[in-house]
Structure formats: structure tokens, C-alpha cells
């Protein structure tokens, strides 16, 4: 995001400098990896920075390496066709494929647990699931469910960012976010940002799928399937 702000500033202050030039001047390719993680928010006006960065770098003669949250990439691939000009590294895809399998197994176990009460061996996963379910499983927990979607798709966010994304006219109270953090599904990070606990990812993905219909596992599976290298 700082890359974008500096390029924007430079372009607006100096008529001889375009945004693209200011951006490229900051990139020390091929070594530099641009972090795109905080460059978009899922709101009508939230795609500005990432659109500007990507559209100015997409036609560069040599590839420029970027880093982005895999869930954000899955969303942008489906919503904005970003996979047309941002191809994933095959080595990363293999790692994602391995992680995906582990998550899929955990989600299947949670499905059978919810459906039939089948025993869940992982007691931490079970407790986290029951605790989070007790909050977001209620029909009135509309904002809590949407918060999970925001954190899952766009990554760590502050309470203010969540409030802006969801157009709430009140800030999600400290009490509610604390309750979500106490379930162990969310964690509080530096700069007052909240994020999904990686260990609890299957729980969040399962609840988001069943309560909001959003199948992030399926979307990630499409990425790994489509971009798998020909030799295996």
C-alpha cells in the first residue's frame, strides 16, 4: 500500500512523472516481491489501489513477483478475472494443494460432526467449532457472519475497516470482537488488526459455507486444478 501511496504522491506532485514510472522506480525487480495484501477492500470504492498497481504492471516486459493472500486471489480471480494476468507460481500451488487437502479433510469431519454428531478426535477443533457456532449460528448474528466473510476474503482488518466494508453505522463493539477472539477462531494482532487463526481455518470455512453459501475451499480447489503444471 505504501508503494501505491508513494507512486500516487509522486505522480500528483510532478507533472513529468506518471504513476507507472513512479511505481516502477520503486521496484527493484527481479528481487522485489510486491505485497498486494492490503491493497484492496471489498467495498464499491475499495479496488482503486490494486487496480492501479496491477494495470500498470501487467504489461511489463519482465514478470514482476507479487504476494497476495490466496483467498483474496481466489476472490479476485472469480470477480475480476485477475488470473488472466497474474499467474500463480507452480511451487506455491503445490504447497497450497497440500494445505487444501488437510483443510478439506477437516471440513468433511466437521460436516459429519454437525450432521450426525459423529465423534471429532481433535478436541481443540471441536471446542472452537462449538464456541464459534454458538455465536454465528444464531439467526440474528448477521453482522458476525459477514465479519467472518470479510476476514476470510480480504484478510486481517481493523474494526474500522470492517465497519466501512460492511457499511455499519456503529462500530462492532470491543465486546463482540472479544467474544469472537475468545472462541479461538479469531486472533488479535498488532495495530489492532483482527485475523482468522490459521488453525481454525477449517471451522471458519465450514461455517461461512453453510451459513453464507460461500465455498472458499471450492474456489481454492479451482485455482490448484486449473494451474497445475502439465507434468503433475
Amino acid at each position: 500500500m505504501q508503494l501505491h501511496y508513494r507512486a500516487d504522491c509522486a505522480a500528483s506532485h510532478d507533472k513529468n512523472t506518471s504513476y507507472r514510472k513512479a511505481l516502477l522506480d520503486q521496484i527493484d525487480y527481479p528481487d522485489r516481491v510486491i505485497n498486494l495484501d492490503n491493497t484492496f477492500r471489498r467495498r464499491p470504492t475499495g479496488y482503486g489501489p490494486i487496480q492501479k498497481i496491477v494495470s500498470n504492471l501487467a504489461d511489463h516486459e519482465s514478470p514482476i513477483r507479487c504476494q497476495i493472500n490466496v483467498f483474496a486471489y481466489a476472490f479476485l480471480k472469480n470477480a475480476k478475472n485477475y488470473d488472466m494476468f497474474m499467474t500463480a507460481d507452480p511451487k506455491n500451488l503445490e504447497q497450497i494443494g497440500g494445505q487444501l487437502k488437510a483443510w478439506q479433510d477437516a471440513v468433511n469431519t466437521l460436516t459429519e460432526f454437525e450432521r450426525l454428531g459423529s465423534p471429532l478426535d481433535d478436541s481443540w477443533l471441536k471446542d472452537t467449532y462449538l464456541n464459534l457456532r454458538a455465536i454465528v449460528g444464531r439467526a440474528s448474528a448477521r453482522d458476525e457472519r459477514r465479519t467472518l466473510v470479510v476476514l476470510l476474503v480480504t484478510g486481517p482488518a481493523t474494526r474500522e475497516e470492517i465497519k466501512e466494508d460492511l457499511r455499519l453505522n456503529y462500530s462492532l463493539s470491543q465486546r463482540v470482537m472479544t467474544a469472537l477472539v475468545k472462541t479461538n477462531a479469531l486472533e488479535s494482532r498488532t495495530n489492532e488488526r483482527y485475523a482468522i487463526n490459521l488453525k481454525a481455518m477449517p471451522v471458519v470455512m465450514f461455517l461461512v459455507r453453510e451459513l453464507m453459501g460461500l465455498d472458499m475451499l471450492g474456489m481454492l480447489g479451482d485455482i490448484v486444478k486449473v494451474r497445475k503444471p502439465a507434468h503433475g
Partner: protein, 281 residues
């Protein structure tokens, strides 16, 4: 008439009738027991009555249940005579062939031309469940329109199909009556369903504002947490008599959240329209 009575008063014929009825009763109790066990297991695991998993998995169970019910009804009627008759050969005193054949024919006639409405309803219901389960016309959890009633299919039973409407009313539609009805499902087993949202603009809107509005609606749909981003979004314009109509078609990720999705997109767009002074009709 006495001969007929004598034929039917045979122990093997009585065994045929009793065993057929017993098998139905045992199966009914077994199914009820199984459902109770699952509920008990879920309670012990710390889960409440609300089952969050509604889609797709239940179709397989419905298919298995429908198959089992059909077999349990028909197989004793067909196979029991074939089992009882060889056993009767061990006794010289009994020659139940005619009695068994007659009883079998009675059962078949009873199935074909059921004497009571309950039997008709049950048979029609079993047949409807079986055909529905394998033709995938709709399943439990779908948003359906049946006989003018719109709602979520809670249960496809032998006697009733239960719907829960958006006003939280429960509508019970006799299953047998659905044979000749059109069955409309909004999502056919999928989680997502198409959502069509119209927007109306003043005819005085200028082209630049119209383009801004179209872009804003697109952005509002993509920004909504209820959207299924994996499905296409389409926007169409049309001229109405006193307004310009913009129709936005997109898919809500969970069909049960359609109203929330519409509200979310409309709210976001109205805020934009107010900020940018877009003239609405």
C-alpha cells in the same frame, strides 16, 4: 365361499399376511429409532436442534430411504410366498399354494386399487419420493414453489411435503397431490441461486450518470458478502414508459440470504446515488 374361507385360513397364508405387516412395522420403528439416535448423538456432542448442514448430503439419504421403503413394501409381498411354499412341502397336511397365490393377488389388487385414501396417499407419497429422489427435481433444503406456495423444503414425507415460507409459516402439501403439479426449484440442490434486482432511473438522467450508476451497481454487487463471486454478473438496460430500467442479475451464495443480498446491494447503491445526485425514478 366356504372353500375360499378354507383357502385363506391356512397357517401359511396367515403367516404371509402377518409377516408382511410385521416387516412394515419393524422397518417403520427402525427408521424412527435411527433418527432418534442421530438426534441423541448430536445432543451428546453439544449441538443444538438446529442442523447447519442442509444441502446435498440429505439427497443421498433420501434416495437410500426411498429405495429401502419401496423394497420393504414390495419384497415381502413378492418373496414371502416363494419362501413359505417350499417350507410347506415339509408338511404333508398343508397345501397352501392356492391360498398363498390368492393372498398375493389380493395384496396386488390392494396395492393397485387401494381401498382407503390413507393407503392411496401413502403409496402415492412413496412413489413421489422415489421418483423425486432419483430425478433430482428438488430436494430438502431447496427454495421451491409448489402449488403457489413459495418456501424452503423442510421435508419430503410420504404424506406431506413441508415448506417453510419467508413469513415463517409452515405449509403442508399432500405429497400425492404433487404428481400433476409443476415443481419449481430456485436452486435445485445448489447453495446459490439467481437474484434479479431492478433499478429505476429518471428519463432525464444523462449518459455519464447512467454509466456511473451501472459501474456502481456492479461494484455494490461484488462488494456484498452475500454474493457468489464464482457465478456471472449481468446488467441490462431497458426503456420503460416513464423510466429507464436497469436489471442486475447475479447469484447470491446462499439462496436463503436472497432478501439480505437484495437489501445489501440496494442500500449500498442508494447511498451512492444520494452522494452523486443520480436521478432515480
Amino acid at each position: 365361499m366356504d372353500d375360499l374361507f378354507e383357502l385363506l385360513l391356512d397357517p401359511f397364508v396367515i403367516a404371509y399376511v402377518v409377516l408382511t405387516a410385521l416387516i412394515q412395522i419393524v422397518f417403520f420403528h427402525y427408521s424412527a429409532q435411527k433418527k432418534a439416535q442421530i438426534n441423541e448423538q448430536r445432543k451428546k456432542a453439544g449441538l443444538d436442534d438446529q442442523n447447519l448442514v442442509k444441502q446435498t448430503q440429505q439427497l443421498q439419504e433420501l434416495q437410500q430411504e426411498a429405495k429401502a421403503q419401496a423394497y420393504i413394501l414390495l419384497m415381502p409381498i413378492i418373496y414371502l410366498p416363494l419362501i413359505l411354499w417350499p417350507i410347506s412341502l415339509l408338511w404333508d397336511d398343508y397345501k397352501p399354494e392356492k391360498g398363498l397365490l390368492l393372498t398375493f393377488l389380493f395384496f396386488v389388487l390392494y396395492l393397485l386399487w387401494s381401498a382407503t385414501d390413507v393407503a392411496k396417499a401413502a403409496l402415492g407419497g412413496i412413489a413421489f419420493r422415489t421418483v423425486t429422489a432419483f430425478s433430482r427435481s428438488f430436494q430438502v433444503g431447496d427454495r421451491v414453489t409448489l402449488k403457489g406456495h413459495n418456501g424452503k423444503a423442510l421435508e419430503i414425507g410420504i404424506f406431506y411435503v413441508k415448506l417453510q415460507t419467508s413469513d415463517d409459516e409452515q405449509v403442508c402439501i399432500p405429497t400425492v397431490s404433487l404428481w400433476s403439479e409443476n415443481l419449481v426449484s430456485a436452486n435445485t440442490g445448489e447453495r446459490a441461486s439467481l437474484c434479479v434486482i431492478p433499478f429505476y432511473f429518471s428519463p432525464q438522467i444523462d449518459p455519464q450518470q447512467l454509466q456511473m450508476a451501472e459501474d456502481a451497481i456492479w461494484g455494490c454487487m461484488q462488494a456484498s458478502t452475500y454474493l457468489d463471486p464464482g457465478k456471472p454478473i449481468q446488467i441490462y438496460l431497458s426503456q420503460e414508459r416513464d423510466c429507464i430500467k436497469l436489471t442486475a442479475k447475479s447469484y447470491v451464495a446462499s439462496t436463503y440470504n436472497e432478501s439480505l443480498y437484495r437489501s445489501d446491494v440496494t442500500h449500498a447503491f442508494l447511498q451512492f446515488a444520494r452522494t452523486e445526485s443520480i436521478p432515480l425514478a
